[in-house]
C-alpha cells in the first residue's frame, strides 16, 4: 500500500472546536487514480492537507510507503513533500513574477539541483506538456489551461510517487477540464504516479477509477 490511514482524527481548535475528521480509515495502492468527493465542509480539503503533509492530525496513524508520517519536524515534512508528493491546486498557485520555466524549476531549486540541469529538466517537462513555446512567458500571459499544465509540470518534475490535486479543474471551462483530466490520466498511466483528486465535479469523478465519498468527517462509500 502506498497510503494507509488508520482512524485519523482532526479537530480545529478555535473559538468553537471543530471536529473535522472523525476517524478516517483509508488505503490507496500505488498507481491508483482516485477521486475524493464531498460537499464543502465535509472535511475533504482537510484530508488532502493531511495526505500532503501540509497539516498534522491529532489521532491515528498515516503511513506513506510504510513510513509513519507523524510529529514530523518542519524540515522532515518539507523533505517528504519535496521528494514524494506533487501538488496541483485549483488556483494553480504559480508564482506570478516568475516565468513558466522558472516556476517549474522551483522544486528542484529547493532540492539543490544545479542551475543548468534543472533548467534543462524543466524545459523537457514543459515540452512534454506542449508548452515549450510558453517557457519564457509569465503566468498572467497564459490561459487557465496553460497555467494548470505548468502547475502539473511543476508537480511532476520531482518524480513524486503521489500527486494530490485540489479541484484541478475548478477554475477551468469544460473543454480545458477534459484536457487536463486526459493529461492527469496519461501521467498516471505512463509514469505510474498515484493520483488523488479532490473534486465535487461529477464529470471529473466519473473519469477516475475509484471514488471516495466523504461526508461529515467520515468516509461513506467506496
Amino acid at each position: 500500500m502506498l497510503i494507509t490511514l488508520k482512524n485519523v482524527h482532526k479537530t480545529y481548535f478555535g473559538a468553537q472546536p471543530l471536529h473535522v475528521l472523525k476517524g478516517i480509515d483509508l488505503e490507496i495502492d500505488k498507481g491508483e487514480f482516485v477521486s475524493i468527493m464531498g460537499a464543502s465542509g465535509s472535511g475533504k480539503s482537510t484530508l488532502l492537507n493531511i495526505l500532503g503533509i501540509l497539516d498534522n492530525y491529532d489521532e491515528g496513524d498515516y503511513y506513506i510507503n510504510g513510513t509513519l508520517i507523524k510529529n514530523l519536524t518542519e524540515r522532515q515534512a518539507a523533505e517528504y513533500r519535496n521528494r514524494m508528493i506533487g501538488f496541483i491546486f485549483q488556483s494553480f498557485n504559480l508564482i506570478s513574477f516568475k516565468t513558466a520555466v522558472e516556476n517549474v524549476e522551483l522544486p528542484l531549486f529547493y532540492q539543490g539541483v544545479g542551475r543548468r540541469r534543472r533548467h534543462e529538466l524543466a524545459l523537457q517537462y514543459l515540452e512534454r506538456l506542449g508548452l515549450k513555446d510558453w517557457a519564457e512567458h509569465y503566468p498572467n500571459e497564459m490561459s487557465g489551461g496553460q497555467k494548470q499544465r505548468v502547475a502539473i509540470a511543476r508537480a511532476l518534475i520531482t518524480h513524486p510517487q503521489l500527486i494530490l490535486a485540489d479541484e484541478p479543474t475548478g477554475a477551468l471551462d469544460s473543454k480545458t477540464s477534459e484536457e487536463v483530466m486526459d493529461l492527469l490520466r496519461e501521467v498516471n498511466r505512463t509514469e505510474g504516479v498515484t493520483m488523488i483528486i479532490v473534486t465535487h465535479d461529477p464529470k471529473v469523478n466519473a473519469r477516475t477509477d475509484r471514488s471516495i465519498h466523504i461526508s461529515d468527517g467520515l468516509i461513506l462509500t467506496e
Binding site: 518542519e74 518539507a78 513533500r81 521528494r83 498557485n93 513574477f97 531549486f109 529547493y110
Partner: protein, 410 residues
C-alpha cells in the same frame, strides 16, 4: 539550498517587483548614511580649516599684559599703571618652575618703512630669540633672530609677508638688503611667511621683528617691556597655573592678587579648549542626527519588509508546499533586507564621498574633507548588520507561514 546565481536573482526579482516602493524605502537608508558620512567629512574639513588658523602657535601659552589696577592695595590707589620689566622674567621663572619659556616683547605701532622708492607701514616687535617657541615663524628666506643678535643689539630685522611684497616688489631673496624703519636703517635677515590668525600684538604680515635690546633703545623703553609670554613645560596645564602666575605677579608688582583687571592673562589653551569643545559637541550632533536618520531608514526597511511578507503569504506558502525549508525562507527575507540596505547605503557612501571630494577641490585652503577608507568599510559593515537586524522581524514572520496558508488565502 544551493546559493547560486539564482539565489541572487530571487533577491533581485523580489526587490525589483515593486520598484517605487523599494526605491523609497532604500532612500531612507541612503539619506541616513549620506548625512552621517557627509557631516562627518564636513566636520573634519571645517575643523582642519580652523586649525590651520592656529598653526604654529604653542597651545599652552599665556600672554601677560599689564593694565591699570582696579583696586587700592597697601595704600596705593586704584587706577595705577604698572609695567613689566626685564627683572621680572627671572623672578617669574623662579617662582613658577613649571614654565618652560618666559619671554618679553616690546611693540611699537605705526612705523613707516621704506626702501628706495618703495614705502610701506607696519609695526615693530622686539623679541628675544626664544620667542620662536611661542609663535613658530615660517621662514621664507633667511633665518630667525638668534641670541647673538639680541645680545649685540644688531641692527637686523625680519619682515612679514606684506612688507616684503611692498618693499621688494621684484621678489627674490632680500637678505642683506637694508630698509629704513622710522629714522634708522636695518638689515633684513629673513622673511617670515607665518599666516596664522593667532598673533600677539599685531598681524605678522605687517610686522618687523627686531632684537628686543634694539627695540628698547630705539623706543627708549629703559627696562620696561610690554608683554611677557610664558609657555608651560610639556604636560603642564596652563589653566591650572593661571592663579599662581597672577599672585606671583601681584606680589611683585604690589597690587591686590584678587584684582583681575590689573593683569590681563590671555590663555591660548582656553581658546583651543573652546574650539575643541565646539567640535566635540558638533561631532556628537553629527552622530546623533546621522545615526538617527540611519535608524529611521532601517526601521522603514523593516516596516516595508513586514508589509511585503504579508503580501507574499501565498507565494511563501507555495514555496513551502513545494519543498522550501523554513530556514530557506528566513534566509531569503534576510538577504532581501540586507541587499536593500546595502545597495541603498553604498549609494549613500558613494554620493557622500563624491560630494566631499568636490568640496575638497573647491576649498583652496586644502581642507581635509574626505572620510578615510576604513570609515567607509566600517560603514558598509554596519549597514549589513543593520539590514540583518531590520530583516529579522519580517523574516521571523515569513518563517511562520505554513504551506496551508497558501491554499487558505485564495
Amino acid at each position: 539550498m544551493k546559493f547560486d546565481i539564482d539565489s541572487f536573482r530571487e533577491i533581485g526579482d523580489s526587490l525589483l517587483r515593486n520598484k517605487r516602493r523599494t526605491l523609497l524605502t532604500g532612500f531612507g537608508v541612503f539619506w541616513g548614511l549620506f548625512m552621517l558620512l557627509f557631516m562627518m567629512g564636513g566636520g573634519r574639513g571645517i575643523k582642519a580649516l580652523l586649525e590651520k588658523n592656529f598653526e604654529g602657535f604653542a597651545t599652552n601659552t599665556v600672554v601677560m599684559i599689564s593694565t591699570n589696577t582696579s583696586k587700592p592695595y597697601k595704600g596705593l590707589p586704584e587706577g595705577r599703571y604698572w609695567n613689566f620689566n626685564y627683572d621680572d622674567l627671572d623672578y617669574i621663572k623662579m617662582m613658577v618652575p613649571e614654565l618652560d619659556v618666559v619671554t618679553p616683547q616690546i611693540s611699537n605701532w605705526g612705523v613707516s618703512l621704506s626702501r628706495d622708492q618703495y614705502s610701506s607701514s607696519g609695526h615693530v616687535k622686539g623679541i628675544e630669540a626664544d620667542y620662536c617657541k611661542i609663535e613658530e615663524p615660517k621662514m621664507k628666506y633667511g633665518r630667525f633672530l638668534n641670541d647673538v643678535d639680541v645680545r649685540q643689539e644688531r641692527k637686523v630685522c625680519i619682515i612679514g609677508k606684506r612688507i616684503y611684497t611692498s618693499l621688494f616688489p621684484e621678489g627674490g631673496d632680500p637678505c642683506g638688503e637694508f630698509i629704513q624703519i622710522g629714522s634708522v636703517w636695518l638689515q633684513v635677515i629673513g622673511v617670515d611667511y607665518n599666516s596664522s590668525s593667532i598673533n600677539i600684538n599685531g598681524n605678522s604680515d605687517q610686522q618687523v621683528t627686531v632684537p628686543i635690546t634694539l627695540a628698547s633703545k630705539l623706543y627708549q623703553r629703559g627696562k620696561n617691556v610690554d608683554i611677557i609670554c610664558v609657555s608651560g613645560k610639556p604636560g603642564v596645564k596652563m589653566t591650572s597655573l593661571e592663579h599662581r602666575i597672577r599672585s606671583v605677579v601681584a606680589h611683585r608688582k604690589q597690587f591686590d592678587p584678587t584684582d583681575d583687571e590689573a593683569l590681563m592673562l590671555l590663555n591660548t589653551e582656553q581658546i583651543f579648549q573652546i574650539v575643541d569643545n565646539l567640535f566635540r559637541g558638533l561631532n556628537f550632533l553629527i552622530w546623533l542626527v546621522g545615526l538617527g536618520t540611519l535608524l529611521a531608514g532601517a526601521i522603514g526597511v523593516s516596516n516595508i519588509m513586514l508589509v511585503t511578507v504579508k503580501e507574499r503569504t501565498v507565494e511563501i506558502g507555495i514555496r513551502r508546499a513545494i519543498g522550501a525549508l523554513p530556514g530557506e525562507i528566513l534566509t531569503q527575507i534576510l538577504s532581501e533586507s540586507i541587499a536593500l540596505t546595502l545597495a541603498a547605503g553604498s549609494a549613500g557612501i558613494v554620493f557622500s564621498v563624491l560630494l566631499l571630494s568636490l568640496l575638497e577641490k573647491v576649498s583652496s585652503e586644502g581642507g581635509q574633507f574626505l572620510i578615510s577608507f576604513w570609515t567607509a568599510v566600517i560603514a558598509a559593515l554596519l549597514l549589513a548588520a543593520l539590514g540583518a537586524v531590520a530583516g529579522l522581524a519580517p523574516a521571523m514572520r515569513a518563517m511562520k507561514i505554513k504551506p496551508v496558508d497558501a491554499m487558505r488565502d485564495e
